[in-house]
Symmetry: D2
Subunit: 257 residues, 4 copies
């Protein structure tokens, strides 16, 4: 039996602010894991509490979504931080988010770095090792989410940390298994059929196809569903239905079958 997790980023408001066009409550009804912003790139304490409570109520697995300390840039501008700084800012944010999870009577299940921190760690072994070590130091039962084939996953493996190999339904891949840049014209896959076909093949066959039409092996434990792209919710529902129709069990990574 094949299975896969669907994860999305939520709680990405700040105070009175919201990101336009994100219907978080509906999105949470589609996914099985939620990555909740922890205050650095998004997410003030009140937003974090409400988001955690919503995720708990809807039975979604909860992860911390730590980012770079760059609210104005939404954590998407890479910064030249040291591994030690990456470690410390991960630990801080995971702890802060976990406090709300504990207060809500739930358990934190995973950690997924956000934006530039995720991308930097994917390509930098030292940053990846520092983040994995921070997660392990906080709770060695946590699962680290990282881009399929990236340093985040090898770093987690190296220290015996649980991990989930993440693929993207709505982003095009290059032949080296990396994501195309968000600035590329073809970076976003908006055709639902293409997106669904891609992820089903990743889950069932372990194979992905790059934007240059080259096949490469990929492991898909969890599929990232974006909430801030046009039609994101519709796409998410469509993908989930297609996965289930293909006989794939959609379930949070951490849950025992």
């Amino acid at each position: 039996m094949k299975r896969v997790d669907l994860n999305c980023d939520i709680g990405e408001g700040f105070g009175a602010y919201t990101l336009a066009n994100v219907d978080e409550a509906s999105l949470l009804r589609v996914v099985t894991s939620a990555n909740i912003a922890c205050g650095f790139h998004a997410g003030d304490p009140a937003t974090m509490r409400r988001t955690v409570e919503m995720a708990v109520e809807l039975g979604v697995s909860i992860g911390a979504h730590p980012g770079l300390p760059d609210l104005a840039g939404f954590g998407r501008r890479s910064m030249n931080i040291s591994p030690r700084e990456a470690h410390d800012m991960t630990l801080y944010q995971v702890g802060a988010l976990d406090a709300f999870v504990r207060a809500a009577g739930a358990r934190l299940s995973h950690v997924k770095p956000h934006g530039a921190l995720y991308n930097m760690a994917a390509q930098d072994a030292e940053l990846a090792a520092a983040i994995a070590e921070a997660v392990r130091a906080f709770d060695d039962k946590l699962i680290l989410f990282g881009l399929a084939g990236s340093h985040l996953l090898t770093s987690a493996a190296h220290i015996g940390l649980r991990r989930a190999s993440e693929v993207f339904a709505d982003r095009a891949y290059k032949s080296d298994a990396k994501l195309t840049s968000r600035r590329d014209a073809n970076a976003l896959i908006t055709d639902p059929d293409t997106a669904a076909r891609n992820v089903i093949r990743m889950v069932t066959e372990g194979v992905a196809t790059s934007i240059e039409n080259i096949e490469f092996p990929v492991r898909a434990d969890t599929i990232c569903i974006h909430g801030d792209t046009p039609g994101a919710l519709t796409l998410a529902r469509f993908i989930r239905r297609q996965l289930e129709d293909a006989g794939i069990v959609v379930r949070a990574v951490g849950l025992v079958e």
Copy 2:
């Protein structure tokens, strides 16, 4: 001939964030003055530049809208700051906003403190004097916007600073000419006819009616139009039309007739 200014707060996003339900470009087509957030309660540099450029393009008079350093609370939580601190944070924010106005080839016309800073200064003579002094020190041609009858206006008058007495179309008044609290059930006036009738009377007769149905004198140089209340845009357009139909000239405070 009676005249009045319509002002609104804009540029109240931050980075990737927006306030839900505010259509700033449309709002700017209705008002004659815009108060632009300066980075403390809202408004990162990029948002400020874009907002200034939009206001310049639409020919709206531009004001700085300095607030308390409280992004998570949107500058609405009063803070126990000293007059000196109020002076310094006003000066900082007015200067920052003015840089974008200068770069856009325009001129800053006024300053309106935001949220809790506005309310605190309305009631505290020392804070009001410090803010008025900061405005004068920056540019003694600027116009200070303050709540009708408040310390902000008397402080401006005291040092010979130009000023505009502000009234609210969509907020209920108490008999002492103060605004009812936003937390009160009746704080917001949502009926367009009531709102329009109130402001026309303030402009033409200099009289307002409190929530307890008591009349009191008021001077209305400028009317605050909120953009973040439901139906704000429709209300703004309706009020402007009603004012004009009543023979009142709607024009920015600073403009020579």
Copy 3:
């Protein structure tokens, strides 16, 4: 046998910044409990990690020291926050600090709100209840430090939370058991003999004397030692020696005798 705890605030730097004149390593050798800043009024992640490691190494009991989100004002300017906001910002900061404590292989023992948050909660029953509830929700074994006789302590008692009644060695009291304002000329007690005599009497007899020379009952579980006043370190050492010479055991609140 009489016993008392000595606590101090540390970790109050931020990035490259320090508070002038605070020798934290030496201070930690005198006290038995350390309240570590959690990022809102002071304390970036790197500072928090280093401070926690230092406290662990020196065997000092560790507490979280959450403050208002006001770095420029060092958390000393009161803000009009709701109880809900106080709850959420406490939970966030306690969780963040605890992450470093866990990573260092230690256990968090207490929570002491900082500056204006401490003072506001001392006088406002709703804020106090919200903070106590946040502490309990995080970990019901934690000890809440609060001003002797204040709402923080009654709130903790009300929900069965452990608590420590705090007195000040270097601050003058008013006859209602409240601290005199920092702005008062006589707010600080700088004479070592007076400070030591005062706290010994509070610990042994449960009595304090106000600035108006009125005696009032007080419970002294822990004595706050400031590190940022001139001669703070010398005063701290002197007080500790005087307490011990008077036969009082100086030990962290949470430790079993």
Copy 4:
């Protein structure tokens, strides 16, 4: 007659915080130009006002010292910002600082980007052009300070902006005229005689010597004096005296002879 400016960075505190070991008032008595932090990497409004007032009182030429929005990293961590973002954050900070200069009855004379922003712009033509354009848009009389031979200077030249070629007394150069990394063991020149001899030769002969002992041409309009290195003040005084003894006039860049 040869002449040169001595500049230093000041106002680099934040709220209650200071950088250890910097005696700004004494430093200002040695230099002829001061670069004042503008709030992003350092410098809250109160610190900016006090620093500007001190610089005005001591007759030092005042420059804005805009940095990256990274208080915890003191603006020293490079960030992947767009030229547009560099433009906007420069404009914002220059305007904010200028407000205090105007309020103090003085005139802003120059702009020197700080830390990572300075280094990024030195090597990236698009960032440099965006910063130069922001300075020009604010006030086309301002002088842009940039590393000798860097893109900041060529960008300023390209749009007809006044500029000052900066050299460093206490930093070692590579043969390509770039600074060695702060992380290198030999990055700092601490021997006063070496430092003085180097800068005198740069000013009088227009020649510098790299760490590999290679000579290269350099233009020295202004010499950067750091305040946060050990013995900085003594070194600064020594260098000034040596320059004057060598017959070089030490005067702010913007001043007419």
